[in-house]
């Protein structure tokens, strides 16, 4: 069975380490905040200028001047810092964020990522994604393994305009958890009940399959 969005978020959350500063993109990455493991504290960076993003506000706390990069109203946790966009991207560009999680349309075996534009169809802009992928050493990309029509999104070479070149080293799809290294995807884990064959079939890029590919497990 392919992972649900919640399971994907849960799996990504296992990569969090105590003391990590983390930037979570819009969509599935945002859900990761709901699955932070016990005993682990992470500080969420929102690129509009907030380090230490807290929970959504109550009706009473609601404040138009307190939003996250997804433009949602949020709160700041005790010990948060708020700053300008230039300072925020100084952090990001300077490599101070420990982990970035973001979605994508395509990823390829060279670690290239395309996530911001589908020519002729969708031109909303890259927002902070290009800065995030260029600034971080540690990026996890979340996406479905293939399109609705069954076309692989893990390619030999991205076809869409890139967001960043050679910057992605880990991908979590609804079918598998993979690393990207030396020009290939390495299959590290598979979703519960998903066969290696299905993953092979739906991976267009070069895929290295180790002898043993453990199955992910999730609590009920």
């Amino acid at each position: 069975m392919a992972l649900t969005r919640e399971q994907m978020a849960q799996r990504v959350a296992r990569e969090l380490q105590d003391g990590f500063y983390v930037n979570l993109g819009i969509g599935i990455p945002t859900l990761v905040a709901n699955y932070i493991p016990d005993g682990i504290d992470v500080m969420l960076q929102s690129e509009n200028g907030l380090l230490g993003m807290g929970r959504y506000p109550t009706e009473e706390e609601l404040d138009a001047d307190m939003i996250n990069a997804g433009k949602e109203t949020v709160t700041a946790r005790p010990g948060a810092a708020i700053f300008s966009s230039a300072e925020s991207f100084a952090m990001i560009r300077g490599g101070h964020v420990d982990l970035t999680v973001l979605g994508a349309f395509e990823v390829d075996q060279q670690g290239n990522i395309a996530s911001w534009m589908i020519p002729g169809k969708l031109i909303k802009g890259m927002g902070g994604a290009m800065d995030l992928v260029a600034g971080a050493d540690n990026i996890i990309c979340t996406m479905t393994h293939a399109s609705k029509h069954g076309e692989s999104k893990l390619l030999e070479k991205c076809e869409l305009p890139l967001t960043g070149a050679g910057c992605i080293n880990r991908v979590l799809t609804d079918l598998a958890y993979l690393e990207i290294k030396d020009g290939a995807f390495i299959l590290k884990e598979r979703a519960p009940g998903v066969s290696v064959e299905e993953i092979v079939e739906k991976t267009a890029g070069k895929l290295i399959v180790p002898d043993h590919v453990p199955e992910m497990s999730f609590d009920a």
Partner: protein, 232 residues
């Protein structure tokens, strides 16, 4: 003394001198921390062929979005232009030129403009369409592209509190692009919620020192929320 009293008493006066064809840098992120009333005054004046530099272009009917209604903007530099149907239509019809710019690069271009740095290198956008036609250079085995500074004829900024000298503090995440925008205008106009006496703002806590600011006006704000999310 008159020399440092930057208060103006009307929005008309606040935007005096803006003309068609000018470049306007605007603070704000989404609808948060945007100079609502200064934008409305630009609409009222009917100036056109504007180049607008702003992270977003508002939404249909609010924020910079209202300048699209009478096609006052001919070019925009922004990082994200979703949430706006009229904008998308004008873009697809080539009625508006859009220079999509990575968010961090946009912030740094404004800062550089204000700081007398004509250009800087960044890894952001290298190997992507954003890097095309730009100089590529290697420092410490990494590729970077050259990005140039931006200066505006006007900068329009939304602050929280200011004194009449133009010292400004921003509230929460309504800070965003406003401090950089404030430095990068040949004429910088700041609208705020409250004007206080000089000395009331703690010197070390001023976000925008008055030297960058030409005009200050106190206004009232709708502060529309784009995505209202509350905890259940």
């Amino acid at each position: 003394m008159a020399g440092f009293d930057k208060r103006v008493s009307s929005y008309k006066e606040a935007m005096e001198g803006i003309e068609s064809g000018m470049t306007v840098i605007a603070g704000g992120f989404g609808l948060c921390g945007i100079p609502e009333n200064l934008i409305a005054e630009i609409k009222r004046r009917g100036v056109h062929d504007l180049t607008v530099v702003s992270n977003n272009c508002g939404v249909d009917g609010f924020g910079l979005g209202i300048l699209l209604e009478d096609r006052q903007i001919s070019k925009i530099l922004a990082s994200y232009v979703g949430e706006n149907a009229l904008f998308e239509k004008q873009m697809l019809n080539d009625e508006i030129e859009v220079v999509l710019t990575p968010q961090g690069t946009l912030a740094e271009k404004m800062r550089a403009g204000g700081a007398g740095i004509p250009a800087f290198y960044t890894a952001t956008g290298y190997g992507t369409p954003i890097g095309e036609g730009k100089e590529v250079r290697v420092f410490n085995d990494r590729h970077y592209i050259l990005e140039e500074a931006i200066i505006g004829d006007f900068a329009i900024v939304k602050g929280w509190k200011a004194d009449r000298y133009g010292n400004v503090m921003y509230r929460h995440t309504a800070q965003n692009f406003n401090p950089m925008a404030a430095t990068a205008g040949k004429i910088t106009v700041v609208e705020v919620e409250e004007i206080v006496e000089p000395g009331e703002l703690e010197p070390s806590q001023i976000h925008t020192p008055g030297i960058y600011v030409d005009r200050i006006i106190q206004g009232t704000f709708e502060k529309r929320i784009e995505k209202r999310t509350v905890r259940s």
